[in-house]
């Protein structure tokens, strides 16, 4: 008996009990769709994060106070990094020193941040204020929707000009054009010179659009601080970024201890984030796999019932010439077919589900998750079908024929 015949017998047996087969497959359908869906959400999130980092520019070196990375890889503990970050900040001497590394450094962006209320006529909004230098938008690529960024001289002179984040502009001005309008930040009046492009939210976290940008010097004067919270160095395009990081670190080490600052590029932080997201994806997939296990047990249960119900049929087939192996393969194919069909349907559901959530979440069905689902559902069928199939193959034809 060839495989096609065995497959045909198995399919016929499955379609003989349509409702039962459908209910049996349900466990695998739910299991596979959950695994694929969660993996696709995880992968989509990972891809989104990678893209977001790439959008920031690939030649950037980020310098932050405190030791961001632990010795073992990954981020250092929150307490450790937060304490360091609180104890240390940078100042304009650091900017000056870094700018001297002309061989490696093209531009240096820096900022300090405060929080305050911004007002236009009767409209008010609590917002984050980024006080940055003029190079900030070129290094960290903050595209403008309208108007312009502030200039070097506006920064140096501490002029009261502001670039509004998209959300701030929207809420304060509505349909009115904000350019050249006067707003009050705290007690000080500013002129709007630009509006940033919409950046979107951060997966339910604070919006990147509820922010305003003013010159660093202006912020220093109003809030009476010269501290720099973070610096970003744009390295020259003609040198290796690793060499630039080494140079920047050597420069910083002249003024700070090793654990008082971190200098890293996006790949370093991206690797850590990817590791974390992969762990989350695996964990979620693992939890979903439990339902696949339950689905497999369902298949085994039904196959055992099926073997008992069809004992006489098995006896007849054996009497008419079926070998134990042919019976074993018939029932194994039946279990595997149920499971694979469930897997394919589950995969289809996961695909549709991923498409459905794409407007709000960057889900992405990968070929790996498809192969995984297909492989796992086949394995589930074969593993959980093995015991019932083996039982069927070992039945004595005489006993089986006598079975009522």
């Amino acid at each position: 008996m060839n495989f096609t015949n065995t497959l045909a017998i198995a399919i016929k047996a499955i379609f003989t009990n349509k409702v039962r087969s459908a209910l049996t497959m349900l466990g695998v359908i739910i299991g596979v769709s959950s695994v694929v869906m969660l993996i696709s959400l995880g992968k989509g999130l990972e891809a989104f994060v990678v893209q977001s980092f790439e959008d920031l520019g690939s030649n950037n070196i980020y310098i932050t106070p405190g030791n961001l990375f632990s010795e073992e890889g990954g981020f250092s503990s929150i307490q450790n990094s937060a304490l360091r970050a609180k104890s240390f900040s940078f100042d304009k001497t650091d900017v000056k020193e870094l700018r001297r590394l002309r061989q490696y450094v093209e531009k240096v962006a820096y900022y300090n941040a405060q929080s305050d209320t911004i007002r236009f006529l009767t409209n008010t909004k609590q917002t984050s204020i980024i006080g940055s230098n003029a190079d900030y938008n070129q290094v960290l690529i903050t595209s403008l929707n309208k108007g312009r960024w502030f200039t070097n001289s506006e920064d140096e002179n501490g002029e009261r000009v502001v670039v509004l984040g998209h959300e701030v502009a929207d809420e304060l001005f509505g349909k009115v054009d904000p350019l050249s309008k006067k707003v009050r930040i705290g007690a000080v009046t500013f002129t709007v010179v630009g509006v940033a492009e919409k950046k979107g939210g951060g997966f339910g976290g604070p919006s990147f659009d509820n922010v305003i940008y003013i010159p660093f010097e202006t912020l220093s004067r109003i809030y009476n601080t010269n501290d720099i919270m973070d610096m970003t160095v744009k390295s020259r395009g003609d040198i290796e970024i690793a060499d630039a990081i080494t140079a920047v670190e050597a420069n910083m080490l002249k003024r700070y201890k090793d654990d008082e600052f971190s200098a890293y590029d996006q790949t370093e932080i991206l690797n850590v984030i990817q590791d974390i997201l992969s762990m989350i994806t695996i964990t979620l997939g693992g939890i979903a796999a439990i339902s696949l296990l339950v689905g497999g047990i369902g298949i085994m249960n039904i196959m055992l019932v099926s073997v008992t119900e069809r004992t006489k049929e098995i006896g007849l087939r054996k009497a008419l010439g079926a070998t134990p192996n042919q019976i074993l393969i018939q029932f194994l194919i039946e279990a595997a077919f149920l499971s694979i069909l469930g897997g394919v349907i589950g995969l289809g559901l996961a695909f549709v589900g991923s498409l459905a959530v794409q407007p709000i979440f960057p889900a992405k069905v990968t070929i790996e998750s498809v192969l995984l689902a297909f492989g796992v559902s086949t394995a589930v069928g074969l593993i959980f079908g093995a015991a019932p199939a083996s039982r069927a193959s070992r039945l004595s034809p005489i006993e089986a024929l006598r079975y009522e």
């Binding site: 008996m1 016929k12 008419l320 010439g321 079926a322 070998t323 134990p324 034809p397």
Partner: protein, 243 residues
Amino acid sequence: MKKKANKMANSQPVLKLDNVCKSYQLGTQLIRALECIDFTINEGEFVAVIGPSGSGKSTFLQVASMLAEPSQGKIFLKGQDVTSYNEVQRARLRNQEIGFIFQQFNLLARTSALDNVALPLVYAGVEMSERHQRAESLLKKVGLGDRLKNKPNELSGGQQQRVAIARALINDPSIIFADEPTGNLDSKTNKEVMGLLQQLHKDGRTIILVTHELNLAKTAQRIITLRDGQLLAEYKPPYKFKD
């Protein structure tokens, strides 16, 4: 289909049981279902095995048809010693050399008459088109040419048994075992089925009929009687029986 003259009934032995016994363990008790018996059936012969319930008829059929292994003795099929055949070899032997007709028909429910008849050919590795062609031809021969697509529950008892007979013939077996083939039939269909068996015998088929009905057994060329697992006597026509 084999076309052999009935006169060949005394030619080559098809099946030979040489001092064959069958016993099995039931808890701590050893049940001797078949005492050591000798039995031979020649090509084209029609033999009936009769006896009351518990006489060992079923055990005889199971051992002789390769469904069960003997505890002792030797079995020869067409001169070949098949006693020590393993499970796979026995399955192939049943498929190629033996045809079964059961009391309960044993047809696959939800499967057409055509596919039921063709079932042994599936395990013989025959292509589907040939399977259907041969099954159709046999169903026509047993008078069911118009019921090819009908499922067992759409057929009468007599028709179902005729499907089973066609199935028994599909692989052109050396020997046909009919186990109480009319046990589930009324008197009219009983006659039809027995008529069919006699026709097969006339066509040169070797048949072993297991029954507890003396009247049916009398249609055979030879009758052997079993009691308590022992071969009690052997009769040839004209039959004269004591109680």
